[in-house]
């Protein structure tokens, strides 16, 4: 007992910068951000980090959040889940950070979410897709400011059905890890609702980071499926697309569905042919049909390009959503708290009720902490304007249609989707925006 009191004392000393008592505002708002700066996923982590630094500068220049400047500390998710956990706790219990943006990797989200709950600090899951984390357990302190795997996959299925209504066979080639496996499960279960007689001719799961898809490609050429799905990302996706291109796989008439292609388009340059169905993991794209000309967005794109030499990709937008969401949530909480600085649970509470807008349509948060974010999909198109493919025939699939309702499990929900939903494909909810 005595130990505990000493303990408590030291904690409060350590945390004096932002006291647990929700009274006077702290000197600065310390936030911790976990992102990949090493390993294959740094493809996403590094641009997102750049975006975070950029946006935090802007926000601070504009007076920060509720008049408090933000100071961010970054953790490398590449050091592995266990070290991440240590570092995470160090930030919270030593540095007195009470707001964490974590993580990119779904595996890491699974690690940190329960810890945040135990430490009673706010954790914004800013990029990870796994729907399970919020469906299997109800959290008080954990929210997600973007869609999840279910939203992404169901939306992709609907878009596919709109673009290519009749097909009989499908083959999948996904990375062999949780995302690759889960996304396929959601995708095929959803597809079976609309096409009960769909034939899966090949399920291939080359290992994460595989460097040679030659055999898989040969097999696809031999099988000649109507649809080829791959939810791969990063170097794996690049390699797959390039090898497929070199082997003439794209010319064989199969429709490719690559839900994460948006993040590779600029890198892949002319290796991407026209006519591939591509996703953006949410409602954002630097040529967004509705916000591309919005000055705020334009400024963001220009600044980001100047800073990193590349156009923003989805992780940078997810980072933006997390930060904007955080700001909106804090301000709402401060208001609700009668102008006083809010405690993490108050912010988390506010974030569950808020609506906010980053660089796409408005995002609505649900009471389970899940964000309802529309899904942008399109078909690749080559244009003289850019040395790489862009998205055409873009559709913004409303999240409400394709997200598992609160309290239900995606695995069972997708199987129960009403086939009548296919009707919306022709409504103007599914209006296509051409590339201009």
């Amino acid at each position: 007992m005595r130990r505990l009191s000493i303990n408590a004392l030291l904690v409060t000393l350590a945390l004096s910068s932002s006291l647990a008592l929700a009274q006077d505002k702290p000197a600065e708002l310390k936030i911790g951000i976990s992102t990949f700066t090493s390993g294959a996923a740094s493809v996403f982590g590094v641009p997102a980090k750049a975006a975070a630094e950029m946006l935090i500068e802007e926000m601070n220049a504009a007076g920060g959040i509720g008049g408090v400047k933000i100071s961010a500390t970054f953790i490398d998710e590449g050091i592995g889940g266990d070290k991440l956990l240590s570092e995470y706790r160090r930030l919270v219990q030593e540095q007195g950070v009470k707001t964490m943006l974590s993580a990119i990797s779904s595996g890491n989200c699974n690690i940190v979410a329960p810890v945040a709950e135990d430490l009673k600090i706010l954790n914004v899951m800013w990029d990870c897709g796994t729907e399970k984390v919020l469906e299997n357990k109800r959290y008080k302190y954990v929210v997600r400011t973007q869609g999840n795997a279910t939203t992404e996959m169901v939306a992709t299925v609907l878009y596919l059905l709109k673009m290519k209504p009749d097909f009989k066979t499908i083959a999948v080639i996904n990375q062999d890890y949780a995302w690759g496996r889960d996304s396929w499960e959601i995708f095929i279960n959803t597809l079976r609702v609309f096409k009960p007689d769909i034939k899966v001719v090949a399920e291939m799961f080359p290992k994460l980071g595989a460097s040679d898809f030659s055999t898989e490609i040969s097999r696809l050429q031999a099988l000649k499926p109507d649809i080829v799905l791959s939810t791969s990302w990063g170097g794996d996706l690049d390699t797959l697309v390039r090898q497929a291109g070199q082997r003439g796989l794209f010319k064989q008439g199969a429709t490719f569905v690559l839900p994460l292609l948006e993040s590779s388009l600029e890198r892949l340059g002319d290796a991407v042919p026209e006519g591939i169905i591509a996703g953006a993991r949410g409602d954002h794209y630097w040529l967004h049909p509705e916000t591309a000309n919005d000055p705020k967005h334009k400024a963001f794109i220009a600044k980001f390009k100047a800073r990193t030499g590349a156009y923003p990709i989805y992780p940078t937008y997810h980072m933006a959503q997390a930060l904007v969401g955080l700001k909106t949530g804090f301000e709402a909480a401060i208001k609700a708290n009668g102008g006083k600085w809010p405690a993490p649970d108050q912010v988390a509470e506010a974030m569950r009720k808020m609506k906010f807008t980053a660089y796409g349509r408005e995002i609505t948060m649900r009471e389970d902490g899940q964000g309802l974010e529309a899904q942008l999909l399109g078909v690749t198109k080559r244009t003289p304007k850019y040395p790489f493919a862009v998205l055409d025939k873009m559709v913004l699939v409303p999240a409400e249609l394709v997200t598992t309702p609160v309290g239900q499990l995606s695995t069972s929900w997708v199987k129960g989707i009403n086939p009548a939903l296919a009707k919306v494909l022709s409504t103007d909810q599914f209006k296509t925006h051409d590339f201009k």
Binding site: G39, V43, S211, S214, T239, R247
Partner: protein, 301 residues
């Protein structure tokens, strides 16, 4: 699985085995001479690939003739492999020859970690990839399936050339014989007046270049990302161990076994594809503790 699929599996297996063999060849050669299993060899593969890509980009940027692409790959391999290899040998390996084998392994492991980060600092984290070479060479049809000439002709050709070239060098040339002598019995070779340091320097340069060549030849078809070295490392371990350390012919066969097993697995039971190299390695080692081709020499007492 009908005949045509078997043909396909063979094609893919062989072209994959070719790359694997080149990397493993370097590893096993270096082990033969230095008795050190160089874990940093994986980084040589990665660096070779990255540097080749850099050269490829340069060629397009400075509008140099496109046919330079293919030779550039070899240049890249020689430069990186030679330089990095020699640097490794000079800075580390030659200084740990008489150390405990465990420490030797650890030092190369450390070198691997260092190179891994340096590579990220130099080439960043975005996937790197230059494929003009492949596109120039064009494609050909096999049982109705398109293959690139590059993977079907160039890769195996290079592997075979490397194999025979190295054998010729080791058995026919004076310098090569010295290398062989050191491989068989370092002390005796030194006693016979072979300049062991020179031989080692040479070997690791060649071995390194082979590792880098594997990477360079992979770069036109593979996106290079951080961490790509570690995977190739374990795979070439598997090849070398299966073959028996220092066994060049063995490495060729082991690489083929693993390459084919892998490609057939993709057709027959994709789930075990990743397992194949290790299953083969375990299986072989359980039956032949020293690998396929080396024999247990009874200790002279």
């Amino acid at each position: 699985m009908d005949a045509s699929l078997i043909v396909l599996a063979l094609m893919d297996g062989v072209s994959y085995a070719a790359l694997l063999f080149l990397v493993a060849l370097g590893l096993t050669l270096i082990f033969g001479v230095m008795r050190i299993l160089n874990i940093a060899h994986g980084s040589l593969y990665a660096w070779g690939g990255y540097f080749a890509a850099t050269l490829g980009l340069a060629i397009t940027q400075f509008g140099l003739p496109a046919w330079l692409g293919l030779p550039a790959l070899f240049v890249a391999a020689l430069v990186i492999g030679g330089l990095l290899g020699t640097l490794l040998e000079w800075a580390l390996l030659r200084r740990i020859l008489d150390k405990d084998p465990i420490l030797q392994l650890l030092v190369t492991f450390a070198a691997f970690m260092v190179l891994e980060d340096l590579q990220r600092l130099i080439w960043g984290t975005q996937p790197v990839f230059v494929s003009d070479v492949v596109n120039q060479l064009g494609t050909l049809q096999v049982v109705g399936v398109t293959y690139t000439r590059y993977q079907l002709l160039v890769l195996p050709a290079v592997a075979v050339a490397a194999f025979f070239g190295l054998n010729w060098f080791l058995n026919r040339t004076a310098l090569g014989r010295q290398v062989t002598a050191v491989t068989h019995h370092r002390e005796m070779a030194t006693a016979m007046g072979v300049n062991t340091h020179r031989v080692m320097g040479l070997t690791i340069a060649i071995g390194g270049a082979l590792g880098a060549l594997g990477g360079a030849l992979a770069s036109p078809t593979t996106s290079f990302t951080p961490g790509i070295g570690a995977d190739m490392m374990v795979l070439s371990f598997a090849v070398v161990a299966t073959a028996g350390l220092g066994q060049i012919g063995g490495a060729a066969l082991a690489a083929l076994m693993i390459g084919l097993a892998r490609s057939f697995a993709v057709y027959l039971m994709p789930e075990v594809e990743v397992l194949m190299p290790y299953l083969i390695m375990v299986g072989v080692l359980l039956l032949r503790p020293e690998g396929l081709f080396s024999t247990v020499a009874a200790r002279r007492i």
